[in-house]
């Protein structure tokens, strides 16, 4: 088992599944669905195997030797006279404490989204083919360590997502789908241009001693590898690192989505089918913050330190603005969508603290937001399937009609608010403690805490409008949860409670990496400052 390429397996299994699926006649809908379920279950098992074999002591981040499950092969290597057309790309996968939680999250969410997709009845084959392609793209982003590979996976998700929203979505699906596509492509062109500029600024030392331009992210994180004249090299006095950082950050921020680039999210969420909302909120949004942690922070630690106040500021705006918008919503799903924006703001704030506590909070919040919001969207899906409406004011008194459903909703709502004993509390507490500990952003942190208050406001108010009060007559026939819905909600509920009571399970996993990141950030000024002089 030692040499089994488990990361390739977990990444490309869905793609393989898709290829097989294309050969199944489209009438056999059950086989198609089952195949997808098998693929995603295998992914969960693979994720557990990875977790089992994961060494908690190794940090990763910028140290190539402490990444785990590494697979590194030469993929493209064009050599020749001078360096014209020379390009070297490695097929380089590996994980550390920051990617492990997200690999796990992706596996779980994909599995649950498959269950949630069971009710899809329009072009089933196309749906699941796109779904599996999306799955490969998501997983690939979290395991790729070569920037070129990372970018390919990043872009690979766009098209399936466009179709999944555009074909199987709600009434305004076309608008939402194209908006999502244009926004994210707009963001990724910045990633592309910075990627090429980074390529020309760093040279990796090969085993034979020669130095070549590289897309290897870990090589880019080593200040020793910068060329003297590269436009993003700190050695070059006229470097464009600040501009490149902002461009890269914007590219990732669109995915988070960070204010003011957030407007695609409510549209996409409202129009997307439930399962896709779950994936969107559960995994896709995390790619933005993961990208910042994986690419922006370790490659540009010097600039990160300079701009950290602004990152925190935008985190704060996300928290407050998202919460205020959520408070104003009359549509259940839209409210959850805006609450996502608010909660992703916490991740930004936590990262901006640059200390171990804050970054732990940020990564943990990414995982928790993934599970909790997935639950919330499933809950919206349950009621929408039955009532065909999502208006918060259309309901009332459902707690008597659907008590178990109400129970799960309460759990998810409380976890989202951050009630102690549930996972959301731990990550929120870590984020605020970490951010408060960093003097520069203390004021922003204090203002951000208002977000919790607002969060409690919109969540509890929604609770009241949907579940309390008198039951409307037309809802008297609503059934409580079915077996399939239990199968989706119970695992997530267990995770939420388990990590609330015993957060160390997750914290230990990321501990070494977070410390490595904090150390890198702390030392950035000295290391990069000394380069120029």
């Amino acid at each position: 088992m030692q040499n089994f390429p488990i990361l390739s397996f977990i990444t490309f299994l869905p793609l393989l599944g898709m290829v097989i699926l294309l050969f199944i006649p489209k009438k056999n809908e059950l086989i198609i669905k089952s195949l997808t379920l098998v693929v995603t279950s295998l992914q969960v098992i693979a994720a557990i195997v990875i977790l089992h074999g994961y060494n908690y002591a190794l940090g990763g981040i910028n140290d190539p030797n402490s990444f785990q499950f590494i697979e590194k092969y030469r993929w493209i290597d064009i050599t020749g006279f001078s360096w014209i057309g020379r390009i070297k790309v490695d097929y380089f996968l590996g994980i550390d404490g920051i990617s492990v939680p997200l690999v796990l999250l992706t596996a779980i969410i994909s599995f649950i989204a498959t269950l949630s997709s069971w009710t899809i009845n329009k072009s089933v084959k196309g749906y699941f083919a796109m779904f599996l392609l999306l799955d490969t793209g998501m997983m690939g982003v979290f395991v790729a360590l070569d920037l070129f590979l990372f970018y390919i996976f990043w872009e690979l998700m766009l098209l399936p997502m466009y179709f999944l929203i555009g074909i199987w979505g709600g009434p305004r699906r076309e608008y939402a789908a194209i908006k999502f596509f244009l926004y994210t492509l707009f963001g990724s062109i910045f990633i592309l241009i910075v990627m090429i500029a980074l390529y020309f600024s760093t040279k990796e030392v090969l085993p034979d001693g020669s130095r070549v331009f590289t897309f290897n992210m870990l090589a880019m994180m080593n200040p020793q590898n910068y060329t003297a004249t590269g436009i993003l090299s700190p050695l070059n006095p006229n470097n464009l690192r600040l501009i490149a950082y902002i461009a890269l950050f914007v590219g990732f921020a669109i995915k988070i989505p960070m204010f003011p680039f957030h407007t695609w999210l409510p549209d996409a969420h409202v129009e997307a089918p439930t399962a896709i909302s779950v994936i969107l909120a559960g995994v896709l949004l995390k790619m933005g913050t993961y990208g910042i942690l994986r690419v922006c922070f370790p490659i540009f630690p010097d600039i990160t330190r300079e701009l950290v106040w602004y990152i925190a500021l935008f985190g704060m705006i996300n928290i407050i603005y998202g919460a205020l918008c959520a408070l104003a919503q009359k549509d259940f799903k839209k409210m959850i969508a805006y609450s996502s924006i608010s909660h992703m703001g916490l991740v930004l704030l936590g990262m901006a603290s640059l200390n171990a506590m804050g970054i732990t909070g940020a990564v943990f919040q990414m995982f928790n937001h993934g599970t909790i919001t997935a639950m919330l969207f499933l809950i919206v899906g349950v009621i929408y399937d039955r009532a065909h409406t999502r208006g918060l004011d259309d309901f009332g008194g459902l707690a008597t009609q659907m008590p178990i459903y109400a129970g799960f909703t309460t759990l998810a709502f409380f976890a989202a608010i951050g009630l102690p004993g549930l996972s959301g509390f731990v990550s929120e507490a870590f984020v605020f403690l970490g951010a408060f500990g960093f003097g520069n952003i203390r004021v922003l942190t204090v203002i951000s805490t208002l977000g919790i208050l607002l969060g409690a406001g919109y969540m509890l108010w929604a609770m009241q409008r949907v579940f309390l009060g008198g039951l409307k007559e037309k809802w008297a026939s609503l059934k409580d949860l079915t077996f399939r819905e239990y199968a989706m909600l119970v695992p997530l509920a267990v995770i939420v409670i388990f990590l609330g009571v015993y957060p160390s399970a997750m914290l230990n996993l990321m501990n070494s990496s977070v410390n490595a990141m904090a150390k890198l950030m702390a030392g950035a000024q000295t290391v990069y400052g000394s380069l120029l002089h």
């Binding site: 993929w75 493209i76 390919i152 076309e174 194209i178 492509l185 707009f186 592309l192 500029a197």
Partner: protein
């Protein structure tokens, strides 16, 4: 004439074997057409055989790097070098595709009788383009350009079926006539100043003492106009949408690739040879400062791609949409030239291979659909993705590749252009080009929206194309996907083809 120069002439004939093969095929086609009056089936096979032979000769002498038909010791009329051979191969490839396209096109098969003329004219065009990409003399360039133009004017209107067909032909003639006139004017001025029509001689004549004359600048620009019209660069692109829409689909596809490739080869050769001062160790060109080609081409290319992309947004006819898209792609390609480095030329060559594959593919699928539903209007594409899943998916892949998203070959093409730009520190230009890509996504995805997202009002007949056509589609889809993830062979080929004779 002494024996030496006679020997030289004979040796030169060996160097133009591909051109000879094409010429002989042309004559054969006329004969076959005359002998088998009733049976036109042989024509495409004779054409294919001729093309394969020509292709073989090109590969055989791929790395040759010399003059043919030298007028004196320093320079000749034609150049045989890897750069030219690359484009000749590309032209032969596109021509083979064209023959297959014509075989499965309903428009070509049913709407007119004179297939002999059709194939003969195509070979006239091929011959013209082959000379165009290897010409070293302004007169040869002009003659080749006219040979290509005259054949394509007729081909654009050959079916004479509809008004738009004749309109295409007429517009093409008028625009072509004017721009070749302008070009000829430029050539005459250049001859008047330097006393030579050979690019290499002109280059050495203007080196020392360096020429500084406004008239010479004018001459350079006027010649650019003639070439700019061939590659449909703005503002000389106005004929493109109308001609592309009106011409029969196989011819449209062919014009958008072969004719553009020949134009680009000519442009690169013209600028690089005539104005070259030196190439530095990193492959950057240092041109003579008479004309600021770099700024000029940057402006033209930004204009071209922006205009192409924005105009394409409003199109509802597939052919017109692809016409504007091909204008936009000419803009991206010009950026590779604007870098003024060997790296930029590598990028152009890579882009051309990719562009040929995906553009041929897109036109081919559009043609297969037009064969069945008799329309190229986007509104008639509604729901087609469901009624013919394979064609829909293939068209989707070609369009995604044209947008330049990974993991398709289109991404690699764009990537290399941007790599060249960033390497030359032309970041602002790269950003503009990338923003253009985002704009282009909107109209490419609009086609996918019609294919998959929209439901048709009327019943869409389920259909699939013949087995042969499907094989052809697969043959074009497969490399688009494979080169998207493994592009080493692509880059290797391009890298070996950037050698221009002399530099």
């Amino acid at each position: 004439m002494n024996t030496n120069s006679l020997n030289y002439l004979v040796n030169s004939l060996y160097l133009i074997k591909p051109e000879l093969a094409i010429s002989i095929t042309l004559v054969l086609l006329v004969l076959v057409d005359l002998i088998f009056i009733k049976n036109k089936k042989f024509l495409p096979y004779v054409s294919l055989a001729g093309l394969v032979v020509a292709g073989y000769f090109i590969i055989e002498q791929f790395s040759t790097n010399t003059f043919a038909f030298a007028t004196n010791n320093s320079a000749g009329m034609l150049i045989v070098d890897p750069f030219g051979n690359f484009f000749k191969l590309l032209i032969v490839f596109a021509s083979i595709a064209l023959v297959f396209f014509s075989l499965s096109s309903k428009e070509i098969k049913e709407s007119f009788e004179r297939h002999g003329e059709y194939y003969t004219l195509i070979f006239g065009m091929i011959l013209g383009m082959m000379i165009m990409v290897s010409a070293a003399d302004l007169i040869v360039i002009y003659v080749a350009l006219e040979l290509v133009s005259l054949s394509s004017y007729v081909l654009a209107g050959i079916t004479r079926q509809s008004l738009r067909n004749s309109e295409a032909s007429l517009k093409y003639v008028i625009y072509g006539g004017i721009s070749s006139g302008i070009m000829l004017f430029g050539i005459s001025i250049m001859y008047g100043i330097t006393g030579s029509t050979n690019l290499y001689e002109i280059n050495s004549l203007i080196q020392a003492p360096q020429i500084q004359s406004l008239t010479f600048v004018l001459a350079g620009i006027l010649i650019f106009v003639g070439i700019g019209y061939k590659i449909s660069a703005a503002p000389f692109h106005f004929w493109t949408p109308d001609v592309y829409e009106g011409a029969p689909l196989p011819i449209t596809a062919y014009l958008s690739i072969a004719s553009k490739a020949a134009g680009f080869a000519l442009l690169i050769r013209f600028i690089k040879i005539t104005f070259m001062q030196s190439v530095d160790a990193e492959g950057f060109w240092h041109l003579l400062g008479i004309i600021d080609w770099k700024t000029f081409i940057i402006i033209i290319s930004i204009l071209t791609m922006t205009l192409g992309n924005f105009a394409a947004l409003w199109q509802s006819n597939m052919k017109r949409l692809l016409a504007y898209s091909s204008i936009a792609h000419a803009g991206y390609l010009l950026l590779g030239l604007a870098v003024m480095s060997n790296e930029g030329i590598t990028a152009i060559l890579i882009y051309f291979i990719v562009y040929a594959l995906m553009n041929l593919g897109a036109f081919y699928v559009v043609m297969l659909i037009a064969n069945k539903i008799g329309s190229e209007e986007l509104d008639d594409y509604k729901g087609l993705g469901y009624s013919s899943p394979f064609l829909g998916a293939s068209l989707g892949i070609f369009l995604v590749s044209l947008t330049g998203l990974p993991p398709t070959a289109g991404f690699i093409g764009k990537l290399y252009i941007f790599i060249a730009l960033v390497d030359a520190k032309m970041i602002a230009v790269a950003v503009i080009a990338l923003l253009n890509t985002v704009v282009s996504l909107y109209y490419y995805i609009k086609v996918l929206k019609h294919l998959y997202l929209d439901k048709s009002q009327k019943e869409v007949p389920a259909f699939s194309a013949s087995l042969g056509s499907l094989v052809m589609v697969v043959a074009l889809v497969a490399p688009v996907l494979i080169f998207g993830v493994y592009f080493t062979p692509l880059v290797d080929l391009a890298k070996h083809s950037i050698t221009l004779l002399g530099f």
